[in-house]
């Protein structure tokens, strides 16, 4: 693997729950992120998937230094960034930019598109001399496929897909090396989604960007990511290349998640096995002991309640070299194919 541009280890974010007004007493904590490790290589796309409440958006906010972690470390090109402040923090933020989910609320309705995309230059004046900014903004509009003449229009004059392009242009303004995209296409219509995904891929190649791509849609993540991390209740439970995760999953949660995704092929419906999970995700204030997935797992045994499974290559696959040999936090990891293998192969993709 190429040299990592981002190394995350032991990342934790707990939000304290307090009682009392004058004499605040901590009564517990929402454990939004509870020990996350991963690395991101230059030019690579890491996909983080999981259901609502798994902590994936909190990870995004921590990576962009929008919040401070409770514990753990984030290294950008070897430099610890979680404890930076002042000028050093500003410099790092320039290099890690975020694209948000909702193109309707993440753009200021009273600012013109030119001002929105140019705003990063106000905060980081060293990125572009004042006289050059207008030209840079027009260039950015062109890069994301919008007419540079739109520079004086307001967000409401654009469609959802166009607004997302504006958000992406803003993210690119400072020439960052990493873009953290939190559900960047989930608010868009199907036909527009593809346009934005293709744009993100083109920009990655053009500017040698590294992406952390956060989404709940497993099909989109398979399409765009080189490596995938599956999150459950504040932790990564399985991680590997897209083939390892999608075609050779070994963690029961990943298997259930993949089996639940509808596949746009009615021929698959008869011979597809669905793993329907019982119960609901436990509250992040009260995480089960041992393996946090055990309360919904059909394989759970006594050991699962006692011992936290480490995110590592499971014992069973440690001496093999096949695609099942990847990190999976399960005591009883087994390979199971849940995504149907396409037979006819006459599709366009």
């Amino acid at each position: 693997m190429a040299e990592p541009i981002l190394e995350v280890s032991g990342l934790v974010k707990h939000y304290p729950l307090t009682r009392g007004i004058l004499f605040k007493k901590q009564t517990g904590a929402v454990k939004a992120v509870d020990g996350v490790d991963f690395t991101l290589a230059k030019g690579e796309t890491l996909g983080l998937v999981g259901e609502s409440g798994c902590g994936k958006s909190t990870v995004a906010r921590l990576l962009c230094n929008l919040e401070r972690p409770t514990a753990g470390s984030i290294r950008f090109k070897g430099e610890e960034i979680t404890r930076l402040s002042g000028r050093a923090l500003k410099a790092v933020r320039r290099n890690i930019q975020m694209v948000f989910q909702d193109p309707y609320t993440s753009l200021n309705p009273r600012m013109t598109v030119g001002d929105i995309i140019g705003e990063p230059f106000e905060i980081h004046p060293e990125a572009a001399p004042r006289g050059d900014r207008r030209r840079r903004v027009r260039e950015l509009l062109d890069v994301v496929g919008l007419d540079p003449e739109y520079v004086n229009r307001y967000p409401h004059q654009f469609s959802g897909g166009q607004r997302q392009r504006i958000g992406i242009a803003r993210g690119l303004a400072l020439r960052p090396e990493i873009i953290v995209a939190d559900e960047p296409v989930s608010a868009l219509d199907v036909s527009v989604q593809a346009q934005v995904i293709n744009l993100l891929e083109r920009l990655q190649a053009e500017f040698d960007l590294s992406y952390v791509f956060i989404a709940h849609d497993l099909s989109i993540v398979r399409h765009i990511a080189d490596r995938v991390g599956v999150m459950y209740l504040g932790r990564i439970v399985e991680t590997g290349s897209d083939t390892q995760i999608y075609d050779h999953p070994t963690h029961p949660y990943t298997q259930a998640l993949l089996s639940a995704v509808p596949v746009p092929d009615p021929a698959a419906r008869e011979h597809r096995e669905r793993i329907i999970l019982t119960g609901e995700v436990p509250s992040p204030t009260d995480i089960p002991s041992g393996c946090r997935f055990r309360t919904r797992c059909w394989k759970a045994r006594e050991r699962c309640a006692l011992e936290v499974p480490a995110l590592a290559v499971p014992e069973a696959f440690r001496h093999t070299s096949g695609p099942a040999a990847h990190d999976s936090a399960c005591h009883f990891a087994e390979e199971k194919q849940v995504v149907p293998v396409e037979e006819h192969g006459n599709g366009p993709g």
């Binding site: 259901e51 989109i220 009615p266 669905r274």
Partner: protein
């Protein structure tokens, strides 16, 4: 035929002009059948459902033409009180957002029970017992204890089950579900769709599933109607449509979604944007975005050509499209 919609037209009068949301929709649903209505935002799929159910906001909405036959009666000609009796008892609706569709100040037991009190004249006590039965039927754990809880005390998936319970309370002949699982997580979505399919079989209901998700459609639908700019552009049995679409818009949609079962190369992207309903393009509404468009597409609106006995496509060049 359980439901037959004929040439339905709906428009909205706004300050900026008239938005033509539904422009001649015709479709049928038989008992026990699942029809999926697929479309992107602004395609008219939800407005069609609202017009059928008689819950369209009028004004600004206006049904300008069409008939909606449900078990032989034209719903559009019924008086509001007659229609209200049909709705709920014979024809029910499941919405996307259960939290705003349920009454926040009534316990779920009272809301479910109300159906039996109002439509069946049951006593409150009997209605409460039926409410618990229904909650068990949609597999809400601890139904007897939770019947007094309020909607906000349930999770999203459980609320959606309560709404399904409410829709099915009086064993309607037809249920219209508008994006019933869109707001849910994927594992919960699977639970809810399975439940819906199971109950549909048990009651042999007709089901109209309104969605934008080609995956959900492939999983549950018998037939599919694809909508674009207020018209049905393709109507087909689900297997035939996924195998070989007969309309370039359908083909574009199928080609533009990333797949779980294969690592794609570049996605096909339909160029441009869905049309503004106040200025629907002349001829075929899809022509500005269509890779196959020719002169005739700009001038002549294509009728729904019969591709097969149970299949239609509103494309002048459906044969070419079918051949790929």
């Amino acid at each position: 035929m359980l439901l037959e919609v004929r040439d339905l037209h709906v428009e909205f009068r706004t300050r900026d002009g008239v938005a033509r949301a539904v422009n001649g929709v015709s479709c049928q649903v038989a008992a026990g059948e699942t029809l999926a209505v697929l479309g992107e935002s602004g395609s008219g799929k939800s407005v069609t459902a609202q017009a059928v159910l008689g819950i369209l906001d009028m004004p600004p909405g206006r049904i300008t033409a069409g008939e909606v036959f449900f078990r032989g009666r034209d719903l559009l000609k019924l008086k509001e009180d007659e229609r209200r009796r049909v709705r709920g008892a014979e024809l029910a609706m499941i919405f996307q957002d259960a939290l705003s569709a349920l009454n926040p100040v009534l316990s779920v037991g009272d809301q479910l029970g109300e159906m039996f009190v109002v439509h069946r004249g049951m006593s409150k006590r009997d209605a409460r017992a039926r409410a618990v039965e229904l909650m068990e039927r949609v597999r809400i754990p601890g139904a007897a204890q939770r019947v007094r809880d309020y909607p906000h005390q349930f999770s999203g998936g459980m609320r959606q089950r309560i709404m399904i319970a409410m829709a099915l309370a009086l064993e309607p002949a037809l249920v219209i579900a508008d994006e019933p699982t869109t707001a849910l997580d994927v594992t919960v979505q699977a639970q809810v769709m399975d439940l819906l399919a199971e109950l549909q079989r048990a009651y042999t209901m007709g089901l109209v599933l309104i969605t934008h998700d080609l995956g959900v459609v492939a999983d549950v639908a018998d037939r599919i109607a694809v909508m674009y700019a207020g018209r049905i552009v393709e109507s087909a049995p689900v297997h035939a449509l996924y195998k070989a679409p007969a309309h370039p818009y359908t083909r574009g949609l199928l080609d533009s979604i990333p797949r779980l079962d294969r690592k794609g190369r570049e996605l096909y992207a339909i160029k441009g944007l869905p049309p503004n309903l106040m200025r629907i393009p002349s001829g075929c509404a899809f022509h500005p975005r269509c890779p196959m468009a020719r002169d005739v597409c700009r001038t002549d609106e294509p009728p729904l050509h019969a591709v097969d006995e149970d299949r239609g496509s509103a494309c002048h060049f459906w044969r070419e499209c079918l051949d790929g």
